[in-house]
Amino acid sequence: MPEFFTSIGTLLDGSFLQAGALWALRTIPGFPPIIQTVHILGIAIVMGTVVMLDLRILGLAVPSQKISEMTKRVMPWLWWALASNFISGSFFLLGRPNRYFNNPIFGWKLSFLIPAILLTLFFHLMSKQQDGYWESNSKRLWTARGIALVSLGLWIMVAMAGRWIAYVEYIYYPA
């Protein structure tokens, strides 16, 4: 793991942020599974919005929905879900910062998540420029398909990596 990355963990370890997160996780009854469920519900919204949109653009799902209309309709749900997941995730991140910032799978998760967000943001912003931007000519439609394919892969890997954070030793310390 790069040093700048692990040093974030060192910085957060022992801070008041960690104290607050640990207090919530340890004191509120059922808080860990509840907050994890909120996090997974956020992933469900990622699945129902951007993943479905990607599948639509690739011609695999919801054929009656128009790309531009669907983008406009589902994107707000996605951004709210991501904001919610940022908060729900940070309880665990701040609670045990070194566990995450020394975990290569967490590094993988971020290296999927950041491009996934940027790509989706780019797609959303371009579609705001003009109604039906991605469907206006075949060059743009093919670009949209390329973006959708990459985006689909990235979002799925974000969720997969998230689950594997707890199993890091399965990959890095094979039995």
């Binding site: 599974p33 994890q36 519900l41 919801v62 969720a159």
Partner: protein
């Protein structure tokens, strides 16, 4: 319930395939597919439920949305069930007596009954409110209940790992 403590569940844990899954990367692999497909089940059902509640996708008819989304829910559910069974057999005896697991199964059953009720008792009158943004109260209750029950399935499912 005596059946929950029967030796049968231990026998399942001792199947060679249970040992194979439980002792290798198969377990986290199945678990991540389970989470992914469970999220897809809920994500696709959520879109239909929000439409039933009259909260989203109002421009689409209920039948169009159902026709295009429910097959995804069912497909994802099948994969989630297979991967779930794969994990279940590694700790069958502990799971059947785990209150979180019992809740999960009960909530799944209720979610299933809710869906069946909608499909067989309500859906045949769909033409009356198919294209209207606002739906009858009964339909709203079913949509809300579905959201509630599926979130409960997720919560109970996540809780299983905290008890085992």
């Amino acid at each position: 319930m005596q059946i929950l403590t029967a030796p049968f569940w231990i026998d399942i844990e001792n199947w060679p395939i249970s040992w194979e899954i439980g002792g290798t990367s198969w377990f986290p692999f199945l678990e991540s597919i389970h989470v992914l497909t469970a999220a897809l089940v809920v994500g696709s059902i959520l879109m239909v439920d929000l439409r039933l509640l009259g909260l989203a996708a109002k421009r689409y008819s209920v039948t169009t949305l159902s026709k295009e989304l429910v097959p995804w829910s069912i497909g994802a559910f099948v994969i989630a069930t297979i991967t779930g069974l794969g994990m279940f057999i590694t700790r069958a005896a502990s799971h059947v007596v785990n209150p979180a697991f019992q809740w999960k199964m009960a909530l799944l059953l209720l979610a299933g009954i809710n869906m069946m009720y909608f499909h067989f008792r309500v859906y045949n009158q769909v033409e009356r409110w198919n294209s209207t943004a606002s739906t009858p109260t009964q339909v709203k209750i079913i949509g809300g209940l579905s959201l509630f029950l599926w979130s409960g399935v997720m919560l109970a499912g996540r809780w299983v790992g905290h008890i085992i």
